[in-house]
């Protein structure tokens, strides 16, 4: 007998989460391009980027510390933290930003009316507004992923943890009346990451890699003092 609710598998619901090991991240940005390819993120072009209107659901923030010859360069991949107490959600007048039962901070594009309150309220600046209609020079559009919608002008967009991949795996698991296995879902960024700095999984499964990494004593939450309760745990770089 199959279960009917995708988030009610045997053993209790899922809580998706991610661990980002800064001691592994080399700033190679494979994740950034993988995300663009998977999620139909539009090409902004030089002028729009200059106006700060580019879209990168995941970006590598870099921090210079110290002066020559002791200069240090550190990286941090920043994407939507899928906060448990998400500041973006309560301010949306049309319920476009909402929390899924399995812990995703979702954006319903066809509800969004573009007031940008959510972007304004996000402490991580990971929500991106479409200031222009997206455009691909023919035939670049042949590459677009049919599993992911193309967002039009006036809509706020953001990282989904590759919800299309999550739902596909959940559906398979549901048909086989089992839980999604650890490692069965890899968002595009996690999939490409050569150093395995990014790990994705179910936080409710104590045996999952992500649950174990979240207990690592190098762990911290981005802007943890804000109490947003992110689903992403960062692991501090050791040196």
């Amino acid at each position: 007998m199959n279960y009917t609710d995708q988030n009610a598998p045997p053993g209790g619901p899922y809580q998706w989460g991610m661990a980002v090991d800064l001691d592994r991240c080399t700033g190679c940005e494979a994740c950034v391009v993988a995300c663009h390819a998977e999620n139909n993120i539009r090409i902004s072009g030089e002028e729009e980027v200059a106006e700060g209107r580019q879209i990168n659901w995941i970006r590598i923030e870099r921090y210079w510390e110290g002066e020559y010859p002791n200069a240090k360069l550190k990286f941090m991949p920043v994407l939507c933290q899928h906060c448990g107490n998400a500041p973006c959600e309560p301010v949306c007048p049309v319920y476009a930003a909402y929390h899924t039962p399995d812990g995703l901070n979702a954006q319903v594009y066809n509800r969004c009316v573009g007031v940008r309150y959510c972007g304004n309220n996000c402490p991580y600046s990971v929500r991106y507004f479409n200031w222009f209609e997206p455009h691909w020079d023919e035939p670049l559009n042949a590459q677009l992923n049919p599993d992911v919608t193309v967002r039009s002008v006036g809509v706020m967009e953001k990282c989904t943890f590759c919800v299309q991949r999550i739902r596909a795996a959940q559906q398979t698991a549901q048909e086989e009346n089992r839980r999604v296995r650890d490692g069965e879902i890899t968002p595009a960024c996690v999939q490409s990451c050569p150093t395995e700095a990014l790990v994705f999984g179910d936080r409710n499964d104590p045996d999952s890699r992500v649950a174990k990494l979240m207990k690592n004593d190098r762990g911290f939450k981005l802007l943890g003092s804000l109490g947003t309760n992110p689903a992403i745990t960062y692991l501090r770089r050791e040196k």
């Binding site: 080399t26 998977e38 030089e46 580019q54 020559y68 035939p139 590459q143 490409s192 050569p194």
Partner: protein, 731 residues
Amino acid sequence: MDLKRRDFLKVIGATAAGSLLPGCANVETRKLIPYLLPDDEIVPGVANWYASVCRECEAGCGIIVRVMEGRAKKIEGNPTHPLNQGKLCAMGQASLQGLYNPDRIRGPLQRDGKRGEGKFKPISWDDGIARWVSELQKRPGGAVMISRPASGTLARLFSEFMRGISGELLFYHPSEDAPVRTANRLGFGIDFLPEYDLANATYLLSFGAPFVDHWLSPVHFGIAYGQMRQGRPTVRGEFVQVEPRLSLTAASADQWIPIRPGTEGLLAVGVGQIILSERRARLGKGDQKRFEDFYTRFSLDQIAAQTEVPRKEMIRLAREFSTAAAPLAIGGGIAAVQTNGTDTMMAINALNILVGNLGQPGGIRFFQPAQDFSSGEAAMVAEQALADVRGEFKQGSRSVLMLYQSNPLFTLPPSMKFGDVFDQAAFIVSFSPFMDDSTAMADLILPDHFFLESWGDYAQAGITPVPVVGLGQPVVNPLYDTRPVGDLFLIAARQYEGALKARLSWKDFKSMMEAQWKSFLNRQGVNQPFEAAWIERLQQGGWWGAQGKPISVSKRELPPSVASARFEGDEKTFPFYFYPFPSMNLHYGQGANRPWLQELPDTATTAVWGSWVEINTKTAARMGIHTGDVVRVISPFGQIEAPAVIYPGLRPDLISVPIGQGHTAYGRYAKGRGVNPLSILAPLFDERSGSLAAGGTRVRIEKTGKQGNLVLVDQTAEGKKRAPEGERGEA
């Protein structure tokens, strides 16, 4: 018209993908969904994955391509491929934008107007091939082919064809790795590369090796790096990077040592001397005396003065390195692109010999690559060999230039005067799928398929611990009226009488590949019918064997000489060292026509869509230069202008500029954007490898008073500066 749904899709696919398909050449790839799957298994909306080999750089990662209704959607690493183990870099991901690039050459073209004017008109395939062959036959022995390094069957085909017409075949690819390979050959007497076992090293001493940026196989070493740091329960590998510019790779290091450019080999010798004198070396009996004689020739104080690495620091490095459980020294990048590049790499290899890590886990291990897979006999050459080609054209002994995915006009400095070849050649033909800077000078363009539309194989020469031959298949129908370059060479071979025709008698390139694989699999003892074995290899993406024992290395040569590098330009007029570095996303410019890569922020500076000049913080302050000011970089051989970026991780006496932009052609995204720093380099070479000493030209910089349109993504989506304390949006 009574169309079934599936037929309808086929029609759409065929029209969109190949409305200009020619008569007969590629029957095989004309089916909508080409291989393995019968029509019944194609379900609209459900993806098929095809295994292939990435050809965006020379590493040859295994890939799997997600294809829906005949269109490629996403590329990921092939999880079973020993080199990249399911991972892929930004460039590999972006190869889809090569396939679907709006500026691909869509059919054969001939020059219309003067050479270099950039005007072309279509020509039919039959006429185009006939013209190419007749030009070759008119000038027996007159052809030079400059090709990117082909591998496997294609390399063998090129090689046999060019030998058959008494031409010269040069596999040339701009890179900083030629001295690494040469040092390997001279030092260990082995032609292929070892596995540098970063994953199991506990102490990594890297002299400029940019293994995260572009060294040999960044994905392979990225995986190993993650393992080295956090893949073992109790050990975290230490990592020290010695180089004048803090590269993306150095950013991950525990310590960065900004050494004086061109003296990396001396530092390696200094460290080696200390290891020997403190009796921490693990040398074989035969080596002890030889090594002592070599190392005692040098004075530590002089080395400290020349490298600007204090003696105390050298002693610390030597002790840390020699007492580590699994030390590993590697070199490359800026240390390799000097006039003493190969010697430097050999001096670094000698450190590995000193600590006895050859053949050890965490050290340097040579594993036998796949044998019996013929790749022809053409060797990879470096820039110096192209200078020799220029001489041959000048004398008139060569007069036909053939280009295959090679862009010498962009990657060679004008000071080498390679443009003369383009002026003097009687006939130039290019097989490039893109209108790159050199192809734009051709008389005839016979465009190849993009690699995702092609058959191909790739024999790994080292790096992996197991023998690997990757196998690539077309994952989509050819989009345009292009033809596989292999087919063209086989057609041309048929126009010759005698040996050439007999040796290359296959009907098309795919048959040649199948024949090669058939005999290869036979020799590997695969006792399956070929059809079944072939399909299995296609599904797997190639063939890989079992891991053997590391080969024991009998030759352990020390560098023939260790001297500081030579530089062009006198210190007074040109006070700065200059390092044009291959950009992480654009490499040597190949990535410049992919918008994803143009828009991918350079990680250290966050710059996109352009060029910039990196200047040390204090140097810039002294000269009153701010981020965004356009500066002029002047060498004895030319000048370029680009906006400045203040870069804290740079020696005060060094200026660096990324390579990749400054194309005069190469499509709408690349053409006329930024500057090419290679254009101001002196014709200096590393003597032993013949590779361009790109770090050997000195420069001075001037303010121009202009503001550049430097685009830094150092801002939030709402347009606010993310780091308010930075000076004028300092990088």
